[in-house]
């Protein structure tokens, strides 16, 4: 407490000299961060209140982008619904999968471990890997999935996986889950390595009997920072699903069954309609959704190991 009072008495100059090292270490990153992230985001927030077609100077339109988005845009409502389904299913499931696989891989040693990490990270590292699902899910009888199902008599004729509305969303969810061992997964792998080995020995003495108890009482609490990181990455990924929908279901997908908030945004923002103000309004709403979810998830994560 005393230290704090001291700090108040310091003049700006004294304060800076006391914390010089901190600010010098921060400076390079935050100068660039301000220029290339904060400024553009602030500009976009402002743009969301304008009409901006990229060619002409933006004109102020107030809240009309937002009212149009919420009251008149039926496609946005559909995209919102799809995105929520996506996020609610793929978010938690792939988070748990990342953790589970990272934890299992951590049980292995040496070369096996490196190999397994590569294999499970493969869909994230080998470029546009999801394109191979085009072959698997091909709508004729030569598609691998159709061929398999027909050989075993589950279906009589090929299923148009990516053309039937009711299949599009579930199929995209499966592909997304398959893709999802990415950033969070590697962070967990690295996090598991920094857990202090002696904690396990101590826990065994304290009566931890099997690997599941060990996971819950020792490993997870010890890697809470990584869990928080993984959650944020998961949120940003599962709310922003767009590429796999565009590539597998097409743009626009049949009856917009595969459209998400970000595909809707891309429709306005980059390429087709050139209504940047509207796109920025969509981005702002998506941003608010992510921030809200993040708050809730971080509160949940604080309860781990208790």
């Amino acid at each position: 407490m005393d230290k704090r009072k001291d700090e108040f008495k310091l003049t700006f100059k004294q304060y800076m000299s006391r914390h010089k090292a901190s600010y010098i270490l921060l400076a390079p990153f935050f100068i660039l961060f301000f220029l290339f992230t904060i400024l553009p985001v602030l500009a976009s927030l402002t743009l969301s209140l304008t009409y901006f077609n990229v060619l002409e100077f933006p004109t102020w339109v107030g809240w009309s982008n937002y009212t149009r988005l919420i009251l008149e845009d039926d496609l946005f409502m559909l995209a919102l619904r799809n995105t929520l389904i996506f996020a609610i299913v793929t978010g938690p499931v792939s988070y748990v999968l990342c953790l589970l696989f990272a934890w299992i891989i951590n049980e292995f040693k040496g070369k096996t471990r490196a190999f397994l990490t590569l294999v499970f990270y493969a869909p994230s590292i080998s470029g546009q890997a999801y394109l191979i699902w085009n072959i698997i899910l091909s709508g004729d009888r030569y598609g691998y999935l159709n061929g398999f199902l027909m050989n075993f008599g589950f279906v009589q004729e090929p299923v148009l996986w990516m053309k039937w509305e009711r299949y599009i969303l579930p199929v995209l969810i499966v592909v997304q889950l398959w893709m999802s061992l990415g950033t969070g997964f590697l962070a967990f792998i690295a996090g598991l390595q920094t857990v202090d080995r002696s904690l396990y020995e101590a826990a065994a003495l304290d009566g931890v009997k099997n690997r599941w108890q060990e996971l819950w009482f020792v490993t997870l609490p010890a890697m809470k920072p990584q869990l928080m990181f993984g959650a944020v990455m998961q949120i940003t990924q599962s709310f922003a699903i767009a590429d796999i929908s565009l590539q597998l279901a097409g743009n626009p997908s049949v009856n917009y069954a595969g459209s998400t908030i970000v595909t809707h945004l891309l429709d306005y923002g980059s390429g087709v309609r050139f209504d940047m103000g509207y796109a920025a309004a969509i981005a702002t709403i998506l941003f608010c959704m992510m921030v809200g979810t993040n708050k809730a998830v971080q509160a949940l994560l604080k309860r781990i190991g208790k």
Binding site: S22, L35, T37, A114, T117, G127, L186, G191, G269
Partner: protein, 300 residues
């Protein structure tokens, strides 16, 4: 006393008697089950890699075979020779593309890892004004769609006069929010006592950062390097680099691959190279991570 006498004499050096380090709390059945699970899932996950390798080795008639097969029947390297012929034809020499990639990917990765780590250390371990604001700004920034920020970003880069230079790709890459967040989370786990004792020994903050913090979070920055390398590597630079001779390898390779049906073979080879380079980098980093695991001494 008795047990001590029974113990075999320990030999010194590398001839130490082999003693298997058993992990606590592990059952054989559980291990077997996990192994089976990993094998099944692994097949599923490795599909794209298997596919890319096989496609690259397929002769043209097998590439166009319908229905498509996964595995190659008569492997050949002619796709690669095709690709190299095409490469030698380009009017900007290929070595130039490679150099561009080395500059962009190298500076972008190293710069990001260093800047993000430098900024993460005070955020994790120092107390100062504005700390929480700075950190929340970083987190929040990751949630804003980059599609919309592209236009303002372009204007800023033009205003700085670095449009159509490599800096237009490198500088923004040095300050992605994710890296800072990752590094900060790992640095938080370092016990304060290590830092305190280093301070008592008279080490400056920079020295603590470089000699104590960074070695202790080696798995973290190696992982970050993997992410960043991957991102920099796939960047074609089309948005900012208008001069052909400034563009990276990724652009040149994709340009060849987009040549249509007659380049399907070369395209398969391109897909292989595009995947192989980050995978090589990944494996190198992972092996260093494994090394640290055995030597890390992060104890309270």
């Amino acid at each position: 006393m008795k047990s001590a006498l029974k113990e075999k004499p320990r030999r010194i050096g590398k001839f130490r008697p082999f003693r298997r380090e058993r992990k606590i709390n592990r059952s054989a059945a559980g291990n077997g089950l996990l192994f089976a699970l990993m094998a099944i899932c692994g097949v599923f996950m490795a599909m794209p890699l298997v596919m890319i390798v096989n496609n690259a080795l397929k002769p043209l008639d097998e590439i166009f075979q319908f229905p498509p097969r996964i595995f190659v029947r008569y492997p050949t390297l002619e796709n690669f020779t095709d690709l190299f012929v095409l490469m030698s034809d380009s009017w900007v020499p290929f070595s130039r593309y490679i150099l561009n990639t080395v500059i962009i990917t190298g500076c972008g990765t190293v710069g990001h890892v260093i800047f993000a780590s430098m900024a993460a250390y005070p955020l994790a371990k120092h107390e100062f004004k504005g700390k929480n604001v700075m950190f929340s700004l970083v987190i929040l920034s990751m949630m804003f769609s980059w599609t919309v920020t592209q236009v303002p970003n372009y204007l800023i880069i033009t205003a700085l006069g670095i449009n159509n230079t490599h800096l237009a790709l490198i500088l923004p890459a040095c300050a992605f929010g994710m890296g800072l967040y990752l590094m900060k989370q790992f640095m938080e786990q370092i016990p304060n006592s290590i830092i305190e004792s280093a301070r008592l020994d008279g080490a400056s903050e920079f020295r603590i950062f470089w000699q104590i913090i960074m070695p202790n979070v080696k798995p973290a920055w190696l992982t970050l390097a993997i992410f960043q390398f991957q991102q920099m590597w796939v960047n074609t630079g089309h948005l900012f680099l208008r001069s052909e001779e400034l563009r990276p390898l990724q652009h040149a390779l994709q340009f060849i691959a987009q040549g249509g049906v007659q380049r399907a073979g070369a395209a398969a080879a391109v897909a292989f190279i595009i995947a192989a380079i980050p995978i090589t980098f990944f494996l190198i980093c992972q092996s260093y991570i494994l090394e640290t695991m055995t030597t890390s001494g992060m104890k309270d």
